[in-house]
Symmetry: C2
Subunit: 348 residues, 2 copies
DNA sequence: CCTGGCACTCACGCCCTTCGACTGCCAATA
DNA sequence: TATTGGCAGTCGAAGGGCGTGAGTGCCAGG
């Protein structure tokens, strides 16, 4: 593997053909097949030489001597990096996307749930979505609800997200004080960020009578907790069942890892985190490129969605490394665009 | 298959031995194995005769002539129905349960999420939980939040459940009217059920000025919607990844079906629905006993959990029909008991 | 630099055999 | 009548040998 950047244009064509053929059939690809399919005006022997060179360069492998070639992760990488930016959507897919966004939807979280389903139907893999992080939202409301032995603190973000925390009721706090606070607190934090609201609550606590102080401290604490950790960000998954189909192509351990990852939000976040800072519209992370420790043979295709110019969240798809990149990338791109329009419109 | 109720005690012993051995090894069980393991004072020839009879009765099958016997769903059914009610928990399991419930937890929904994880760790299958249905909760609060182009209606149930709906803002409704209503509505519905609150909102609408009427109608509509459909009940799933391990023992279609079912709440509900009306503490639904149309080779072990005497929700486990019933049933029973205590304590 | 040609490799499918884990049945037995 | 040892029979699994064919690598000639 040396100087992977400079490849003759024929090598490039062959590499592309191998990738596409392998993705289509799942079988190792031989030189003869390439001759038939890619129709460069050249014999199979030449292709063989080129393929040997491509193997030397680290783009192809050999399951065994007498078998065809299989693309490596590097091959997919290069393939994806040089994708023609043309149209890759089939008509029914285009219709599905249009249809989905034609419904009027007001709740961003519902929209994103639906989006994961849409993506999974489009690609037949699993769809992902990361909503805007709560800590960047502006608060519309903070509520305190008396639950008897406990107190619920409720925060409503400007995009319709509602987070709740149920905490022990501070002792020395009677229903009367709660009611007073319910009224005082209601609109107090409107238009502030979580961080600002937290600071404000702390300040208010200092200036309040003992009975209310404790509760305000609890509120501040809750707001702080909402800015960090799992409360703040989460990941929606849709269509994971599709991956069960794919399971046959994967090693046991991979399947296990994959489903585990899908269950643990923090893991999925690691996979999607870098996306929103990526300049390109759609990012593709192939196989071992993932910062995951154990074996991982999956690819994540992800794209940020924006409100106006701001990236506010991420959507994506997880599937096998041998996926139809043209179609999946086009699907994710198209959905991200429509979703961005919708998010902008919703004023997210 | 005739007269399945009357089996000689030796047949019963053999059946039990076959089930346990098959669950342990996953291999068809031969007559010789039974002689060694069950140690009835009898030769393998006798066992063979008995096994042939058990096959005749529909309790065992034969993958092929020269193989051992495999239990049918009927065998598991009988096995489960005659389980000794003794202790079936291993010490580490007991500790895990105690440990989990030793934490102070106030939010029932969080508790139930944790419970699904606990169950999946205990059994190595997937854990399920159905929270109390929202329509049976008493309301602590109904809020209206002005979101600009939309309006959010928020309902807080007595167990800390929060449901939201974002709806189009009725035209002719200015911010002023919303604010008025926010105040009026806040405590209006406290202590009522969803149905009562809905009726009340309708009545209020009739007696209100035009500007407020529309919004009250929207509120009524939202409350109605919360009583029905997916908003009302949902199912939590934990540890689905464990089932990926099991996948090897299952037919492709089964795995696919299973993961699909786990994704669709309504499906899981169908599987768990009958449980809470079942008088027994733990209910076991084996393979084809499920009312599902397609092939389904899984078993659901479920139990209601109670607050005081009232069943308020359900927990359970999904796994292969060949599961360690003693252990799984004991796990579900133990967790349901502890959960009932906790729910009672939380005043659910 | 390309090509046709050729020797070589090796998985796969096929057939055959052996092995052994079972069963089913029967005649002998308690 | 229930049980038993014994024995023949069945059939999958595992293994060996073989032919086939897809595919490679390499080379000598254009």
């Amino acid at each position: 593997m040396s100087d992977p950047l400079e490849l003759g244009s024929r090598k490039v064509a062959i590499l592309r053909a191998v990738v596409e053929e392998f993705v289509r059939t799942g079988e190792p690809v031989g030189s003869e097949t390439i001759v038939e399919r890619a129709g460069l005006g050249v014999s199979s022997a030449t292709i063989r030489n080129e393929m040997a060179a491509l193997e030397e360069l680290g783009y192809l492998t050999h399951p065994h001597t007498s078998a065809g070639r299989i693309p490596t992760d590097h091959a997919y990488r290069r393939y994806v990096d040089t994708l023609p930016s043309g149209r890759g959507l089939r008509d029914p897919q285009r219709r599905a996307i249009t249809g989905f966004f034609a419904e009027t939807m007001l709740d961003l979280e519902e929209v994103l749930k639906g989006t994961t389903q849409l993506l999974s139907r489009l690609t037949m893999y699993a769809g992902l979505a990361v909503p805007p992080s709560f800590s960047e939202e502006t608060l519309l409301r903070v509520e305190v609800v008396d639950m008897g032995p406990a107190v619920m603190v409720l925060a409503v973000g400007q995009h319709g997200r509602v987070e709740k925390a149920i905490v022990d009721r501070p002792k020395d706090l009677d229903g009367q004080a709660i009611e007073t606070l319910e009224r005082r607190v209601g609109d107090e934090f409107r238009g502030e960020s979580l961080a600002e609201a937290q600071a404000r609550a702390l300040k208010l606590a200092g200036a309040s009578p003992q009975a209310e102080r404790e509760l305000l401290l609890v509120i501040a604490d809750t707001l702080r907790e909402m800015q960090t950790g799992s409360r703040n960000v989460h990941v929606l998954v849709g269509g994971a069942a599709n991956l069960a189909d794919e399971a046959a192509h994967w090693r046991r351990a991979t399947v296990q890892r994959l489903f585990e990852a899908l269950e643990h939000e923090s893991e999925m976040l690691r996979l999607l985190r870098d996306v929103s800072v990526t300049p390109e519209e759609v990012s593709v992370t192939i196989g071992a490129e993932h910062p995951t420790t154990e074996e991982w043979e999956a690819t994540v295709v992800a794209a940020p969605f924006r409100s106006g110019e701001n990236p506010v969240g991420t959507i994506g798809v997880v599937g096998p490394t041998a996926m139809d990149y043209v179609n999946v990338v086009a699907s994710v791109r198209a959905v991200a665009r429509r979703l961005s329009e919708l998010a902008t419109e919703l004023g997210v």
